[in-house]
Amino acid sequence: MALTEIAEDRARTQTRVRWELLRNLIRKDLKVKYQGSALGFLWSLANPLLLLVVYTFVFQLVLRSGIPAFGFYLLSGLLVWNAFAGAVGAATGAVVGNAGLVKKVRFPLVVLPLTPVGFTAVHFLLQLLVLVVVMLATGYTHLLSPHLLLAVPALGVAMLFTVALCFLVSALNVRYRDTQHIVEIALMAGFWINPIVYSVALVREHLHGGWLYDLYYLNPMAGVVTAMQSALYGQNPTLPGGQGALADPGYLFYLERLGIGGLISGALLLLGMRVYARLSADFAEEL
């Protein structure tokens, strides 16, 4: 073999080793989580179900949001938000929580913040599957339209944004332990800022649809959540205020917002990876 071939071969092996390591770590977390629990993965449905019950009660019966099939509307945006928040929250402690390993073993540190992303992605996909099955089983067919395809770019942007933030927060938390508290509060705020339990129509109304509304959409998750609602919830009922529940009846609006969200996430990812690479050289020392 020529030298360059050997080098390429080695690089390929190294890349494969990293992916395998990531897979093994995700599998480990799943195993540890569900070991000895009889219901196993079913428990991961418990949290969205509980939220479903509570928010349906509050928003449908008490506040009378007027969104029909509110449960499906809620879950369309909630599942992806939960996955995002779960991954970022877990990534905050991903390096700090593995101090013993980081200080004693040399291994590719990039896998640490990616492990919670994979872990929550597995849960998200299963929850999504359950949601779709339940929708179809109950005869809710609004999702069977070309709008469903919006889920693909939406989940792509969600992934990009999640990974970017995971790199950032996991690295920053090593040096500044305040990060975990900031992240906790920011995620809590994010849940209410994004139109998950209410319709984005309320935001548009309050911001008069102008440049403030555009500013609102600089948050990539707003684009993701509303696109997922268009994809899964799929209908655009008229609310008591006279507005449609969805952000827009078409596609272009979402693609545009997702494009902007994707660019922002991409830039953030570059930043996150740089910060991570810079700070990770000193993890073993600072932990």
């Binding site: 080793v17 390591l21 480990k28 540890v32 013993g100 980081v102 200080k103 004693k104 073993v105 500044y176």
Partner: protein, 394 residues
């Protein structure tokens, strides 16, 4: 880098920021920056070390001298503050056995996880798996959760995975101290197999005898600097001198009227101490002692015992009053003038004063270690020999 060098540290220093209080929150950081309550602390200062491929080097030093830090820098876990590290080949570092094991998972699952952390692919691990389990002597227990393992099983499994990574360079940090004797023997067996396979080993141990027997080189760290690098027997001698373990306080207890004040090894009587000799060099051992009137009569023999590694007496020099030992009280200076014999190693001197019945009435050990280099074979003495070897076909 020179082809024969497996791993090299060049002018490596490592500074740790020591926070008087561990400042890890943002506010404390900002405050700390302003008040500069960080004082830098160098765990390593300007360490230069090149280890040839196939060599076994013992790294020794007092607690906190920077051994683990140096291993971590060489392993690439810590980044040196200044200087560079170069390595040729795959490094396995055994800083802690079973680091990264998860108690909830079975031994089998942990083997795969640990192996992939150390850079093995699944296919490679499949191939090595049986051998790993054999080495760890786990048998059926490999499918039990690791949290139920005894500490012996745990460290055996950790060691088994690490050595199966097929390293070119093995960095070992005091892990031999954790297991039982059988485990230590097993590890040593593995290390000697690595030696015959021509792998490079750098290992930290508090067992100085072990360093003398298995290493071809000893490096002594003191407060982050290399203070000796060379013959392992000299290295352990240096460290013993540093730690004061070559001065046994129990030996100093003697008769109140007899104080052995100084033991000096020099080239000529009365010259300043000298540490290095070659067989055949003139050598003078000076012993200074204070003798009070009431014990003068009992001083019947003074002996200087030259001891090698592990306290082995190599030669003994004696004097009695008939041979010239003073008979009057006061300060005595006794010089043994000799020619350094053709031995090899690091030596110390113990002095003993006995009465006519042979009972010890005073004893002391010298703090000075001196080294003699003679011969090429590396043993205590160089014995001429002839070789006759033949191969038998089978």
């Amino acid at each position: 880098m020179d082809r024969s060098i497996a791993i090299r540290a060049d002018g490596v220093s490592k500074r740790f920021a020591v926070h008087t209080r561990k400042a890890t929150s943002l506010k404390e950081r900002l405050v700390a920056r302003r008040h500069a309550d960080e004082r830098p602390f160098y765990a390593l200062t300007d360490v230069t070390l090149a280890i040839e491929a196939g060599h076994t080097v013992g790294l020794i030093g007092a607690n906190g001298s920077g051994k683990s830090t140096l291993l971590k820098v060489l392993a690439g876990i810590l980044r040196p503050t200044t200087g560079t590290v170069d390595a040729r080949g795959r490094i396995a570092s055994l800083l802690e056995l079973g680091a990264g094991f998860n108690g909830e998972l079975s031994g089998r699952e942990n083997v795969y996880l640990n192996a992939s952390l150390l850079g093995l692919t699944r296919r490679e691990t499949d191939r090595l798996f049986d051998s790993i389990v054999d080495f760890a002597e786990l048998g059926e227990s490999i499918d039990n959760p690791v949290k139920h393992y005894s500490s012996g099983m745990y460290v055996r499994l950790g060691f088994a995975v690490a050595v199966h990574v097929d390293p070119d360079i093995l960095l070992v940090d005091e892990v031999l101290a954790v297991g039982d004797e059988a485990f230590a023997r097993k590890c040593l067996g593995q290390i000697s197999q690595f030696q015959t396979e021509g792998r490079t080993i750098l290992f930290v141990s508090h067992a100085l005898d072990l360093v003398e027997t298995i290493c071809d080189r000893g490096v002594v760290l003191d407060h982050g600097s290399v203070i000796y690098d060379g013959d392992p027997a000299y290295a352990t001698g240096t460290l013993r001198g540093l730690l004061g373990t070559d001065r046994n306080p129990a030996d100093d207890a003697g008769t109140p009227g007899l104080t052995i004040g100084g033991i000096t090894v020099a080239g000529e009587a009365g010259e300043p101490a000298r540490d290095e000799f070659v067989g055949g060099d003139p050598m003078a051992v000076r012993i200074v002692l204070d003798v009070r009137e009431d014990v003068v009569g009992s001083c019947h023999e003074l002996a200087a015992v030259v001891m090698g590694a592990g306290g082995l007496p190599v030669w003994v020099m004696r004097v009695t009053p008939d041979g010239g030992l003073p008979r009057l009280p006061g300060r005595w200076t006794v010089d043994f003038v000799t020619e350094c014999p053709p031995v090899h190693g690091g030596f110390r001197i113990a002095v003993r004063v006995a009465d006519a019945a042979g009972t010890t009435i005073g004893a002391a050990q010298g703090g000075q270690t001196f080294w003699v280099r003679t011969g090429k074979q590396g043993g205590l003495v160089d014995v001429p020999f002839q070789v006759k070897a033949e191969g038998v076909e089978w």
